[in-house]
Point group: none
Chain length 116, copies 2
């Protein structure tokens, strides 16, 4: 479907910028005001506002107003879409690591899951 391709375009393009990835990382912990999101960066507030627009268009961030403050919230829907697309690579990797994984399980090295 064409709309799905467009959405993947926007999601991956949105993540292809270090400022936007940092914004996403900041939003993982909690919702933030636009100005608080912009504070760590040297660029202007307008530039960060544009970055937020890109993230919103990609479906990765949503905003809601409370008085004169706009709160930004992470929206996992888009991220899930990208992750689903990438799952194919997991299968590819599984093919490559299949033999080694078997060897590891023979050695009992895959049993304990409490590893850091």
């Amino acid at each position: 479907m064409q709309a799905e391709q467009d959405k993947l375009d926007r999601i991956f393009a949105a993540l292809a910028d270090p400022t936007r990835r940092e914004i996403v990382r900041a939003l993982l912990a909690q919702d933030r005001k636009v100005s608080d999101l912009a504070a760590p960066f040297e660029s202007s507030l307008a530039a960060v506002s544009k970055h937020l627009h890109v993230l919103i268009e990609a479906g990765l961030v949503s905003q809601h107003r409370d008085g004169r403050i706009k709160w930004c919230r992470l929206d996992v829907e888009g991220m899930h879409m990208a992750m689903r697309w990438m799952e194919g690579f997991g299968q590819f990797a599984a093919r490559d690591f299949e033999v080694l994984e078997h060897r590891l399980s023979e050695l009992g090295l895959l049993a304990d899951d409490d590893h850091p």
Copy 2:
């Protein structure tokens, strides 16, 4: 680390194009010649060659020559990096690979370029 950010930039930017994602999908099944990868697209061979260059720079594809034919192969290293970054967004298969890779590197079973 700056180099890691640059690499994530290149990986996500590489995936932000439907032609390149289609190339990657084609390579999931098997290795392909450049001209075979280009065949399904309406754009020129030179354009597809450029797309491949982007994928190679991102560490998602590698090439090797056999006579006058260049074979293209998927390279999961870069994809693992992107998946690990996205892991914070919830349940995801990359976690399995991270544990596995950790065990593999402990045993020295992993190639050096898989854990920079």
